[in-house]
Symmetry: C2
Subunit: 237 residues, 2 copies
DNA sequence: GTATAATCGACTGCATGCAATTTTGCCATC
DNA sequence: GATGGCAAAATTGCATGCAGTCGATTATAC
């Protein structure tokens, strides 16, 4: 309901709705996603839901086990590290491309987005993460390369999920000033500096998130509590 | 029918069958892929075909236009360049990872694969391309990272399609000696050298292929006509 | 009381049918 | 001869139904 709603057809609409729900922590990692219930709630048949789930599985946001249905993916720390490293490599390329063909219009777009980020600085965690991700997606868009855009989007979403799993509260807000610096470097056509900033930005985000797993938010509690919760529930009925 | 056939279920089987058909130029770029005919030929219903087509579309091997069906993708030169550059970035990471945790067993696997490549040195063009791609996939496997494997596979297939479109005959065979050198560098744990070799290997492949578009096969003619066709169209309305 | 086996229920895997949309061939008109 | 509109055929979009599979619960034996 929030993000890119130029998607015309229900197919993609459902897909991005589910994606948003996952990234905004309405659907938590590990939750089951039965086709029937989702279909009922969305008012469509299982066919469309299944399509969406398959696509999200391809993107790595959903885990799909044969004959056992779908659940929101629960990326391991290993996986998280891999995704972040990969992201660094890809965004290296994005920086080179963007800087090779920079215009005033593009700079203005970046500034406009940054303004939105600043405005939402004290908003909820999921919204911060979403805006931060969109900054990187905007950069990818500015390259004009559909290929780069596609992969930055995908990897960005995965990172978003990872952060929502492992990041401690407000660990990603500080990213705004780093985005600021990156824009400045781009404006000065300083490729090396922009790339270095992006690299340290990404590793900083990853470190803030991934190293702090043990002090992670309530999400992990819920998951960890599940066996106990079940015992309590079962002792009642 | 050739490659990884540990896929148990028809779902994935159909998918890899179509993928092989595309990469081996049985299905040529631009060809229509109607669900009915494919379903009939594969002996399954349209449901499964559709699933496979959607997945291949996500991988970039198939183009899927609303209400107009699927066709084998016809990557533009721009796209081809993007994919190859992206590949370079990703395989950089693969090299680092592989070298960080190299074992004798892994080296042996690489050697075994190279032997297969040498053996098939004078085989048909699609087979050469497939084996070359599998070399890179094997490297990704050796990292032990599912994430890296997934993306190297996907990008590798896309490059395969591109090569089958634009490469002149036998332009990719020379890659064998380059693979040889890469293995040696890996054996010596010379990360920098391995990475440089990989980089120049990939750009060499790309150059051999992408620069020679003009002498490419008959398929490209159709594309080359586009500017002229457009002129005619635009002079009309 | 524990371990093992069998039954039950829920959910997915897949096929098919109907509706919607696009394309193609045809005809009338300019 | 070319252009515009119209109708029919082909093809996808989506829903639903039935069968198969997996997991959970219960029953049974030790």
């Amino acid at each position: 309901m929030k993000a890119s709603d130029k998607a015309k057809h229900r197919n993609e609409l459902i897909c991005s709705a589910l994606r948003s729900a996952i990234l905004e922590r309405v659907l938590l990692p590990g939750m089951k996603l039965p086709e029937d219930s989702l279909g009922e709630r969305f008012g469509v048949s299982r066919t469309l839901i299944r399509q969406a789930l398959e696509r999200l599985a391809a993107e790595g946001l959903v885990e799909l086990r044969r004959n056992r249905g779908a659940m929101v993916a629960k990326p391991s720390l290993e996986e998280a590290r891999d995704v972040f490293e990969l992201r660094t490599q890809i965004e290296d390329l994005v920086i080179s491309r963007v800087i090779k063909d920079m215009t005033l219009e593009k700079l203005a777009e970046l500034e406009a987005h940054l303004a939105k980020e600043v405005e939402a600085e004290h908003a909820s965690e999921p919204i911060s993460i979403r805006l931060a991700t969109e900054f990187h997606i905007l950069l990818a868009k500015l390259t004009g390369s559909p290929v780069l855009l596609r992969y930055v989007e995908e990897i960005g979403y995965r990172c978003g999920l990872t952060l929502s799993l492992y990041a401690r509260p407000h660990s990603s807000n500080c990213g705004i000033s780093e985005h600021r610096q990156i824009i400045d470097a781009l404006a000065n056509a300083d490729e090396e500096k922009a790339r270095d900033l992006m690299r340290s930005h990404l590793t900083a985000v990853a470190d803030r998130a991934l190293i702090t797993q043990k002090e992670a938010g309530p999400l992990v509690y819920l998951d960890a509590l599940e066996p106990y919760a079940r015992q309590v529930r079962e002792s009642r009925d």
